[in-house]
């Protein structure tokens, strides 16, 4: 799906870069939507819409939390299988069905939904307003309905598994940050997706049964529509009540994965584990009360705008804490640049860049002029597109040996990372300035405005960067598929990591662990602990085996253990006892 969505984005980037040129090859592929080799405006909007929908929901939501939750929750918590494997399977197949329905809209007469990925009514409710709001929109809604059901089943399953089925010794504060992130993401999903369902149901009724939930006072041409009393703004409230948590549903797993990858490859404990968890919790809670910042200029009550501005800017605080903690984790580390680590660092970089531009948009008064311009496009592509994608890539590189029992080629990984990283910045950084010049998003061509002409050269540059970035993904895809069959055989714990998933055998087996499920004794980030022989101590190693490296706070106030440790220290390492206990 990611490949398809990327292909779509390349298509519309081509249109933006060369609005006047014709590409006969497009006509061969797209037929009537690109007559004479030029993409039509309607189809352009359809491309934008489907690109957004697929990327946000099908790639970043399902791809990040869906795939990695299913892989890592059982493996990192020591669980044989999810709470309800049946629901999991159902969730997977419903996702598959949703994908098919979404893609099938490309093969119908009126084309796919084209009212933007937020499908604001009335545009999305009136086939007369835009052809994509006919059957294409119906398919979109059906697909989303199934998708949400699938995500809900998945999310419910994750939460239940995390809360009920952890292995012995794995209390909540011993869970890796990945699991924390997936857990909180799933909670976000459970609490926000149902609201989208409610909104979608009402929209379906508006479209198919003639109710007036979102429609009122509409005249198409000179034809007065009968709908009265509804309000399009209410859709936006319902949509963004999901939609904003959705953004965090996308980024939080990426943050979790990066935490893990950065810690493992810096050979250092993640800095401020508790702060990391609390900031995730903070983001989770705050994300429910910030949705209004998407609606500053809808004409809603300005007082509400002020309130939402406050909550929105507050959410930058936990994000800042996370960033600084990542930097502190790198400090005096012993960094191994595996491809996963590169992607994680890239993710931090994008998270900073995109997060900072968010401070502009979260400010209601600045948003007046930046809303719906390319500034927004640049912002969310950095923070939620690039950052999340890089988190996902880090996850793939890191856990590939776990998935397929083989290693990916590191050098191709380097090539892939560097080209993608550089091109992503080349694509999205200049777009900020288009936004500052007042160029609105979702414009089919810049030809009609004189002041936009100067940006066409920038557009050409951006499009070429995008094409290069897309081609770089060939290196990744080749690496991925080639390594499944021909990659170097992986050892059991290739990254020398502490977490439980690396205690399972390389070969997959039903139930994950051949014998008893391992018991957990310590937190997952004991890297480079002074006094230990290796620079990592897996979670399954009890403190009694690491007497030389134990620290007083390891025992969480257990007096008996502390006494034993003190006695041992006094006998074997008097200097250490001095440092820690006196």
């Amino acid at each position: 799906m990611a490949v398809i969505a990327m292909g779509l984005s390349i298509l519309f980037r081509i249109q933006l870069a060369w609005p006047d040129k014709s590409f006969p090859i497009l006509e061969t592929f797209l037929g009537k939507w690109a007559e004479g080799g030029r993409i039509k405006p309607d189809f352009y909007l359809a491309l934008v819409t489907i690109h957004g929908t697929i990327m946000v929901f099908f790639v970043l939501t399902a791809g990040l939390s869906g795939t990695f939750s299913n892989l890592l929750i059982p493996l990192q918590l020591g669980v044989r299988d999810m709470a309800s494997p049946f629901m999991n399977m159902l969730s997977y197949w419903m996702f598959f069905l949703a994908c098919i329905i979404m893609m099938s809209s490309f093969f119908i007469e009126t084309g796919p939904a084209s009212a933007g990925w937020t499908v604001y009514p009335p545009l999305s409710a009136l086939p007369k307003a835009i052809p994509g709001s006919g059957l294409g929109m119906t398919l979109w809604l059906a697909s989303m309905f199934i998708f949400v059901a699938s995500q809900l089943m998945g999310g419910i399953n994750y939460v239940s598994t995390v809360l009920n089925m952890r292995t012995k010794g794995m209390d909540l504060w011993k869970m890796p940050l990945t699991i924390w992130a997936f857990f909180l993401t799933a909670i976000l999903g459970i609490l926000s997706f149902p609201v989208l369902v409610a909104g979608v149901v009402l929209l379906i009724f508006d479209r198919s049964f003639g109710t007036s939930f979102y429609l009122s006072d509409i005249v198409m041409g000179t034809q007065v529509l009968p709908n009265e009393g509804g309000s399009p703004i209410l859709w936006q409230h319902l949509f963004w009540f999901l939609g904003h948590p959705e953004v965090y549903i996308v980024i939080m797993p990426a943050l979790g994965i990066s935490s893990e990858v950065i810690s493992v490859n810096s050979r250092k404990p993640i800095f401020g584990y508790h702060a990391m968890v609390y900031s995730l919790i903070g983001i989770t809670i705050l994300s429910f009360i910030v949705w209004g910042h998407h609606m500053f200029v809808t004409g809603m009550n300005p007082l509400l705008g002020g309130v939402f501005m406050i909550t929105t800017l507050i959410i930058a605080v936990p994000s800042a804490v996370k960033t600084f903690n990542y930097l502190a984790t790198l400090w005096r580390g012993n960094i191994r640049f595996t491809p996963a680590m590169l992607c994680a660092i890239g993710m931090v970089s994008f998270f900073i860049s995109g997060g900072l531009t968010g401070i502009f948009l979260g400010n209601a008064s600045l948003d007046i002029n930046l809303h719906d311009t390319y500034f927004v496009v640049a912002h969310f592509h950095l923070v939620m597109g690039s950052a999340a994608i890089f988190g996902m890539l880090a996850g793939v590189y890191h856990w590939y040996p776990k998935m397929f029992g083989r290693m990916m080629n590191a050098k191709l990984g380097y090539l892939h990372f560097w080209v993608t990283f550089i091109c992503a910045y080349l694509v999205f950084f200049p777009l900020h300035f288009l936004g500052l010049d007042g160029v609105p998003r979702r414009y089919y061509a810049f030809t009609e405005f004189e002041f936009m002409q100067k940006w066409v050269t920038v557009n050409i540059f951006v499009t070429w960067s995008a094409i290069v970035a897309a081609l770089a993904q060939v290196a990744f895809l080749f690496n991925f598929f080639y390594s499944i069959f021909r990659g170097k055989k992986a050892v059991q714990n290739p990254w020398e990591s502490n977490t439980l998933e690396w205690t399972t055998p390389v070969e997959h087996l039903h139930g994950n662990w051949p014998g008893e499920i391992p018991t957990v004794y310590r937190w997952p980030y004991d890297y480079s602990k002074p006094g230990a022989e290796e620079d990592f101590i897996p979670q399954t190693v009890p403190y009694s085996q690491t007497m030389s490296s134990n620290m007083p706070h390891d025992f969480e106030g257990n007096a008996e253990s502390e006494r034993i440790q003190r006695e041992w220290d006094a006998k074997n390492a008097p200097d250490k006892a001095d440092v820690h206990f006196h």
Binding site: R80, D81, A83, S84, M87, L152, G155, I156, N157, V159, S160, T161, L163, N164, M165, I190, L191, S192, F193, P194, V195, V197, A198, G199, V201, L202, F205, F209, G210, T211, S212, F213, P226, N227, E228, G229, G230, S231, L234, H237, L238, F241, E507, H508, L509, H510, G511, P514
Partner: protein, 196 residues
């Protein structure tokens, strides 16, 4: 290579899975509540911004259907008691009663719709507050059908003589869900009554 685990290994760990699955249902209850929360908050915002609610006297049928649903819940409660006492006969009787009452509720809801429709408050209406009565009761009815399926599963267990442990698990699942939609309906009904 896919190995299968030894059976005793799995059995030993069966308990947390049942508990987790029950928890799954609780989470579903939460998310479903949120969905209805979404509808009702739509209603609140709509009514607040337009300064008017649905402005109807709800048909009496809703009152009867509420009573029927409560009765059905009571039957299920008694059925659950019977399961714990391993009284299969009573279990069957009460569960059947619950199912029949549930179906009766469905019928009454449809009846209420037609009463609403005849009073001039149709689904397609320029007052979205009226349309939403249909939507919430309709979505609730979907839950009822789901709930009937779950009770049916428990009932099926009674006929196929599943183990006591399993029967208890099934009836617990059914009870949680059925009592939930019972309470949900009372909430919706009271909400609609108060916000006319």
């Amino acid at each position: 290579m896919v190995h299968t685990l030894k059976q005793e290994d799995l059995k030993q760990e069966a308990d947390p899975s049942l508990k987790a699955r029950k928890f799954v249902l609780w989470l579903f209850v939460v998310s479903s509540t949120i969905m209805f929360g979404g509808f009702t908050s739509y209603y609140i915002v709509f009514a607040a911004s337009k300064g008017k609610g649905h402005g109807l006297v709800l048909p009496d049928v809703f009152m009867y259907s509420t009573a029927v649903l409560v009765l059905s819940s009571v039957c299920l409660f008694l059925g659950a008691k019977a399961v714990r006492k391993q009284n299969i006969q009573q279990q069957k009787m009460f569960l059947w009663a619950a199912v029949v009452l549930g179906l009766g509720f469905g019928y009454l809801q449809v009846d209420a719709w037609s009463a609403l429709f005849q009073s001039g408050a149709a689904l397609v209406n320029n007052n979205a507050a009226i349309s939403i009565i249909y939507i919430v009761s309709g979505m609730h009815l979907l839950h009822i059908f789901g709930g009937l399926g779950i009770i049916g599963n428990s009932l099926w267990g009674a006929y196929t003589n599943v183990s006591h442990e399993k029967a208890v698990y099934r009836i617990e699942i059914a009870s949680i869900f059925w009592h939930f939609i019972d309470i949900l309906w009372i909430y919706l009904y009271v909400f609609l009554l108060l916000n006319s």
